[in-house]
Amino acid sequence: MAILTRKKSASKKRKAPASQRTWSIGFLTLAVAIYIFYTYIVPHSPQGFQDQIQTWFPPSALNEALVWVIAALGLNIVVGYAGLLDLGFVAFWAIGGYTAGWFMSGFFYQLNIHFGSESPKHFPGIHFSFWIVLLLGALICAFFGILIGAPTLRLKSDYLAIVTLGFGEIIPQVFVNGENIHGFNLSNGTKGISPVDNIGLFGKRLGPFDLNYKYMIFVFMAALMVFISLRLRSGRLGRAWLAIREDELAASMMGVPLMKTKLSAYAVGAISGGLAGVAYATHVNGIFAERFQFSISIILLAMVVLGGMGNVWGVMVGALLIAWVNSTGLPAVGNEINSTFNTNINFPSYTFLIFGGLLILMMLFRREGILPESRLKMVLHETDDEIRNEEPHEFISEEEAL
């Protein structure tokens, strides 16, 4: 209905959606180019250039950004595709991280279980292969996603947001206090679980500083998430998600099973949160309960919104950008400005201001994000050319679609 009545926006030239084959080639080329750049070009370039790379684009920051990409792509499925606001995504990240902590370290020292792991056989604890732990993390997170989703997805959007928020507060607190639950040490409390096993790759045990290998693995995981997102979106399930996002009532009238569709969005989102958690645990070589704060959920949401809700590439750009600004961009820019203008401003302390300002300005002036999804853009700007005091009931259902 909205599309038919908005002739102006519909007649605008729209880009054809990225074809399934071209994206994989482009993605692969870019990933390989970055890999070659870091493995072959940087070590053989002059020292000054190497230093520049270390301050502006260190490989570890790149890996961390990729972890954020994986999680943000999952949140994009929940928020961007299905239109369910999730403010507790950090819970899945934490659960995934602790899955790695439990199954990839010497934490349960009473046991000695090895399965496909490259770590020496005499090490106590549970040592599973990284790939199996990925699978486990995904499964456990999907289980929790369904567990929290099943009773609460009946709620209206704001209430759902609050329940997810509560869930995102409970899970980290369980891990923070999990040192002694009736004498059982679940999570080692604030001390955290460290170190986590290194990733085994083709019989080779990667050291903690094999950043290039980790980069490859994380890129592969991100590509997997992109693949899953794109394929699901064009499939039956994805179209059902979009229908729910735009009008839940209409979708259910058309025969979309609301609960099943919403739950699957939740489960898929949770899976990617779990993958990101496992990846993050191997990235920082440990898992620490106090890192899982509400701000992670908000930063992920900011990535999705800033990049362009519903558009995989937009979310990816948003995630890379914000992760970079957070980890290296802000301090590096700050140092540059301080040394040029001979000032002494502590730039990272402005994080709050910059983030807050960015979110507000984006919402006021470019709601659809950096790389908008064409369909969502129409919905978001539908009300712009209406005269404000005009009869609003025509588009109330579109407003509530989000």
């Binding site: 606001l85 704001d158 923070v176 949401l301 900011a302 201001l353 979110l359 919402m363 009869e391």
Partner: protein, 344 residues
Amino acid sequence: MAGVTYKTRQLRRRYIERAFATIAVAGAALWLIANLIKSPTQFFEVTFTGLSNGILYALIALGYTLVYGIIELINFAHGDLFMLGGLFSAHFITLWFGQKVPSAVGWGVLALCLIAVMVFCATINVAIERFAYRRLRRAPKLAPLITAVGMSFILQFVGLRWNGSGQKIWPSLLPSGNLSIFGVRLPYTTIISFAITIPVLLVLTYIVTRTKQGKAMRATAQDQDASRLMGINVDRTISFTFGLGGALAGAAGLLFEQTRGLTSYNLGFQLGLIAFTAAVMGGIGNLQGAVLGAIIIGLIQGLNDGLPIGLGQQWSNTVVFSILILLMVFKPTGLLGKPTTEKV
């Protein structure tokens, strides 16, 4: 046939829900009785602390519920407004007026500060509404919500600059010591916070139910367009609501600063979250519900943190949010909220 099975399923569902709720309430009652028998004085002291916490939460929760009731926005920045209120009061009393101990002058300064901090927070809230939320009133729901999160960050930044990154301890103008009734010690600070909060709540009730402005607020909450047709200045009414919510947050900030004697830039988030939970628990948009929910949450927290048989303070949030989730599952509209049907 199909109708019958649907009906029986509904009935069965309702029975299961009832049974579950009964078990939960019975368990809670049992727990309370066990604690009461174990140490009665502690039980009453803790209950009183819980009540005074609850009434503080009520002041913040009312701000959430007022704003939600009128424009259906979860104002995430509200908790941080409370934090700024606390900071303002600390600076006003201790640094600008130099009051450090309870005295007659101190009471005057306290009263002055209550008015000043209410005006301060109301102004900020109105300004936020004017510059950010107003432009997004017709936008999809997610847009103002994210703007609110952004505002919360900006207010936290202001708090960080003003207060520094750690906690700061401030002297209190309220008399220390306890009122002892049958061996139960009730601190003067909590009694005074009751004495400040209850009149504020009464004034709020008066404004909302008896004045013309309150009537305009209720009308706008029901239907913005219809009230505009009736000659109500909707923009001004919404601004007024934000001002009212801000004033309450300011009063809460002053109370918190004076009773606990500390300020911290990230305090607003934690308390705001709990207050919001309280608002949802009572049925968001419902003023009595917000107060009821806040008192219940304050009690739950106080009892859980302070009773000899309990999970203890480190599980406080888990308990509160678990109860919230259970309540949402069984009674999604909150305790006093009315069920709404979705309009097509």
